[in-house]
């Protein structure tokens, strides 16, 4: 356990100093700060646009960070030969991988947390909101976003054990996009009478197998308030449980592949 934490801590230290990630984070923060001034889609109420835009910025920024962070994590260790000094110590490969993953998740958590704080400040100032309680529900989205990104990170880590970083970027982003966009389409596809059964089956399989990132997207009621949410607490618990389950599957797969990998 100590070994894992040491590796995780080092990974965090490195991640929060990586320039690419910092630049992405900075751009994200910039967007958050100027969001109130962006009248890009002013067709809707100001707050609606602001909530949607800022939560979206956090989602996009953290997804980019998650991918850029995780994709290079293991290959860099191999390229710079640090992995040799680590694996020649009494460190099992699974410990190395899990440590790296936990480090990535911790770094992601820190960055998402930072963005969330900026988000709250932006809202407090631009909406002239003095009661923090009114802003508290907004935090739900970044929290779920964090679990979404942890899952995405696990996907990228799993791929990083056997494909090159560049391919991995496309693979992970592709799976992320599918996992986010497919769910809303899925139901329409399956229920539409005009769609043939083979397509429906195919849709079902994809929906079944792929990590369902949209499960973590709880932004809509925040953007369009006033609807009745059923069993929200239970939903959050189940979905976080789902994240752990899927992350577990990915990590075990990653370990199994990495164990046979020649580094």
């Amino acid at each position: 356990m100590k070994t894992i934490f040491s590796i995780a801590a080092t990974t965090v230290g490195e991640a929060i100093r990586r320039k690419v990630l910092l630049v992405i984070l900075l751009i994200g923060l910039l967007f958050l700060v100027v969001a109130p001034a962006l009248n890009i889609l002013t067709a809707r109420q100001e707050r609606t646009v602001l909530v949607g835009l800022t939560l979206g910025v956090i989602q996009l920024t953290s997804a980019l960070i998650a991918i850029m962070l995780t994709v290079y994590m293991v290959p860099n260790e191999i390229e710079r030969r640090t992995i040799y000094t680590i694996l020649s110590k009494p460190v099992q490969r699974w410990q190395f991988l899990v440590g790296k993953y936990l480090g990535a998740v911790a770094a992601l958590g820190m960055m998402i947390g930072f963005m969330t704080i900026v988000l709250l400040i932006t809202f407090a100032l631009s909406q002239n909101e003095r009661h923090l309680a009114n802003l508290a529900p907004l935090i739900k989205a970044p929290v779920m976003n964090f679990f979404q990104m942890s899952l995405l990170s696990a996907v990228a880590l799993m791929f990083s054990t056997f494909v090159s970083p560049l391919v991995n970027i496309f693979l992970s982003s592709g799976i992320y996009m599918l996992g986010t966009l497919f769910s809303p389409l899925f139901q329409t596809l399956v229920e539409a009478p005009s769609v043939n059964n083979v397509t429906k089956l195919f849709a079902r399989i994809i929906h079944f197998v792929l990590p369902n990132f949209s499960n973590f997207n709880v932004q809509n009621p925040l953007i369009n308030p006033g609807q009745v949410l059923v069993d929200e607490r239970l939903y959050f618990i189940t979905t976080i449980g789902y994240a752990f389950l899927y992350i577990g599957i990915l990590l075990v797969t990653a370990v199994l592949i990495f164990d046979r990998r020649e580094v």
Partner: protein, 467 residues
Amino acid sequence: MINRKALFGAIAGLAVVQGALSQNVIFPRWRQNYSTDSPNIAGGLAPDQMLVALAGFREMIAGILWVRADSFFDSGNYDAILPIIRLVTVLDPKQIDVYSTGMWHIAYNFTDEESRSDRRYVPTALALGSEGARQNKETYELFFETGWLWYHKIDDNYGKAVYWWEQAQKRPDILPARQNILAMAYQRNGQIQKGLEHYFSQYDKAAAIAKVQEDFGAFQQRDVNENNIDTMIVRMGQRGVLGPASKTSNMGVPYDIDPPFDVGFSAQLSVISPRVIRVRATWNVRPVGTRIRMILRDSDYPNAVPGGLNWDFSNNVQLDPPRDRTFMQDQLFVRNQRSERKIDMSRDPTMYPFTSKDYTVEFYYNPRSAPPHIQDKFGWSGEGMTDKNFLNTTIRPGQRVVYTTLKLTREQILRTGQWRDKVPVIQTKNFELTENFRNNDQAIKIPGLRGTTPNPGDQRTQSLRDP
């Protein structure tokens, strides 16, 4: 060492568990609570869609979204389509059919339980149309579509229809079949001579084409225009346009529009239960085809003008209509010289929120919107029509219309306070409850182009039939 086989087995097992959990437990609840296509969400855009859009593949996303919107058209989830239309047009302003379908849908498809469309959306539709036209100046389509909204949906300010259709007419790609209707707009706008001229120029074009291109379509186009010209000239003759100075036709009898006919309008409105009203009206015209516009709106409804709205007050597409405002528009159909209609607004509280204190009920009749057989008597601008009490020549300059208003309070319409147990009845001063509204002699008989039922005591029809 690791037992790989056991782990692979465990992974396979867990993969099934996660799939089942996601598809059967989480997804249905997600759909219910958080999905954009959930009916209880007033059509927000999923931020991830926005993100992907912002990330750059605009046209692609626009296409995907439009396909998605299509499925909402099927399911009737119109609220969800609105933001998609907005986003798609923002992403890909060259997608003309999104504009045209979108504006049509916004103008016509938001309806209440009794199929009255939500007029609060009409400015949005118009704004979308004019934006689309701005973005797609090279084609006639959105100019035509926007003109159509003015002509058909708003059905009042025909000058705007003329403006848009003249613009459409300037685009070289306009279809011949779409050109003729500009003449109708000219007529309804009171530009009778221009209407005739348009028909003539259309005829000339069609005839020239028919000469070169001898096929059915070309001949038909030419013949339709010829027929239109014939009809129009006859109407102009009957309605006194061709020789207005003499006040009589060359046969020595007055034009059909002379003397003006008193329509004898009166109306009564009672709130029979909360948000349910019954309207009774009298109208002396016996032939069917009369539709009296009735509006019930907030007295301070933004941009309201007598008989309607300043529909194109803004060029910005406003996806959220003023949801806290009420604007109900309907038509009273006249049969047997009277009209009675129950209007139930209780089932659509979102469309008729009734949050204001005071309401205005408007009754408005403009012969320009009337069908030709009635127009034949009333003329294009109401020269053949009058009303002892409610003739109005000011709200539509140059036109003689019937217009009056009644006042209603929130308490009355919601039946609260002192009106809880008392049916509020408001009416015009001249309204009297009777089964026999008028005797037959007072009712007008429409002359018609090929003669009509002889009107006792009226020599004109006779003389027209046997010159």
